[in-house]
Amino acid sequence: PNVKLVTSDNEEFVVDFRIAKMSVTVSRLMEAMNMSETDDASLLSNSIPLPNVTKAVMARVIEWCEKHKNDEPKEEKENDKRGRTTHVVSDWDKEFLKNDEFGRLCQLMGAANYLEIKGLFNDISQTIANMIHGKKSDEIAEMFNIHCDLTEAEKKEIRKKTAWCED
């Protein structure tokens, strides 16, 4: 069975029920609208509105979900929420995200968060973190396309204030 998802820019996506269920948000909405896998009429007569996702972002989200629809669900330990987050991005996911610019990754991250697709959210946030890792502040600023409004003297002062006594 298929489910209709409607984006903020009024684009309709027809996706497999299993893919729709990968999003906790969509699952909840389907439940609230009494849409079930065994009731074709309910699926045909309803669309799921997703006002926080644009069509371009939705397309990327669905592409990711297609690849991961058969993944085993990962057990999340109780302490993981504020515990240390270590997530290994698979080769396919690296390839999938490698050409996305920062702005696009941020959009995708926001969508994954809104749709509550944990695996995609982890992939994106880890990818952004990996891009930042090991870079100096001006390199990160360039990547983020941010103009630095701190002077060199101010930067020096900030470093001085937070330096450890032995550094």
Binding site: N10, V14, N79, R84, G103, R104, C106, H133, W164
Partner: protein, 356 residues
């Protein structure tokens, strides 16, 4: 009847096969500054070593990082915090806070933002162990309260392990301080070493366990002066899922003594079985006096433990059998191992937990 907004489509729906033709336009792109704070924090969590550099990107990022670093709900930074009840002074103690090297920048930023005074920073001595760092502080439990609360806030609300070494210098002021320091702090494991385990120390231990919401306890003792050591061990088994109890050697006592946890020649098997019927499902018993586990006690464990209706993991020091053995019963592996001339163990492990 419930109403849900229905969007009327004028265009044909996009099929999955058309997805690759779509692209995201530049004007639609979102800036990283536009992300909600909690999403930015998610990124910071994953690259804590970059915090100092992210902070220098711009004024906005400096304030974002500072807010993140000052949050009490920071991710877990501390591997272990170790309290030593120093001798010589009724109020003197020391603490070691151990963290992974990659959390150094964030930990130190959390400390400095709360306390910019370089003199106070100097009191906290840093030792570099390669992949981990230790921060060491000697303090007075009464006079240094504010400094210690600063340290507590820096640590955050969650850590992995708490270690308490009382070194025969336990007193009310010190134990009250440790309890207050750890109030509302979550930790997975508690490791305590007591030269003399008294009622007062046992109460302190139980309170720490209840407060920390912990899963693992490692208790090491020499002398036990509890009124009812059996009931005390059973009580602990209701407070943790994994328990390790070690009877350390006692000065002057012969190696063939039958001592374990304050009792000599006592059959502990029924107590261990009772413990495994409580919250505890993993029990590791070690005694420097391995003969405390006599053959009829061990036989009882071999018979009863496989019948417990949960996936247990049990191991005890044991020297009562001549030859090693291994067999399966009721979904559990029962094994007697001689590691070397000194270490011999009896284990009863559910087959799914053999590899632990």
């Amino acid at each position: 009847m419930q109403y849900f907004p229905v969007v009327i489509m004028e265009r044909e729906p996009i099929l999955e096969s058309d997805l690759s033709q779509l692209s995201i336009k530049n004007e639609e792109m979102k800036l990283i500054e536009d992300l909600p704070y909690e999403l930015l924090w998610e990124i910071f969590d994953r690259t804590p070593e970059s915090i100092s550099n992210i902070r220098l990107i711009s004024r906005l990022f400096k304030s974002l990082v500072d807010e993140y670093a000052l949050s009490r709900k920071c991710m877990r930074l501390v591997d272990y915090v170790q309290f030593n009840f120093e001798s010589g002074n009724a109020r003197a103690m020391s603490v070691v806070i151990n963290i992974e090297e990659r959390f150094k920048n964030l930990f130190e930023l959390r400390f400095k933002l709360r306390n910019p005074d370089i003199e106070l920073t100097r009191r906290l001595q840093r030792a570099d162990y390669g992949v981990t760092l230790g921060y060491f502080l000697e303090f007075n439990v009464v006079n240094d309260q504010s400094y210690l609360m600063l340290l507590r806030e820096t640590m955050g609300e969650s850590l992995k392990t708490v270690i308490v070494n009382e070194n025969s210098n336990f007193n009310q002021a010190k134990s009250s301080f440790v309890s207050a320091f750890l109030e509302d702090v979550h930790f997975d494991k508690l490791q305590c070493q007591f030269n003399y385990l008294s009622e007062q120390k046992f109460t302190f231990l139980v309170n720490l366990m209840a407060n920390g919401n912990l899963r693992k306890l490692h208790l090491m003792v020499e002398y036990v002066t509890l009124a009812d050591p059996v009931e005390s061990l059973v009580r602990l088994s209701s407070l943790a899922t994994t328990i390790s109890v070690t009877q350390l050697s006692v000065n002057g006592l012969a190696e063939d003594a039958l001592l374990f946890f304050g009792k000599t020649g006592f059959n502990w098997a029924p107590t261990f079985i009772e413990m495994m019927n409580r919250r505890c499902d993993k029990l590791n018993v070690h005694s420097d006096y391995a003969q405390f586990m006599q053959k009829d006690h061990a036989d009882l464990l071999k018979e009863k433990l496989p019948k417990i209706k949960k996936k247990i993991w049990f191991c005890t020091s044991c020297e009562c059998y001549e030859d090693k053995f291994e067999y399966t019963e009721n979904g559990s592996e029962i094994k007697y191992v001689k590691c070397n001339n000194f270490e011999r163990f009896l284990s009863v492990k559910h087959l799914l937990r053999v590899g632990e």
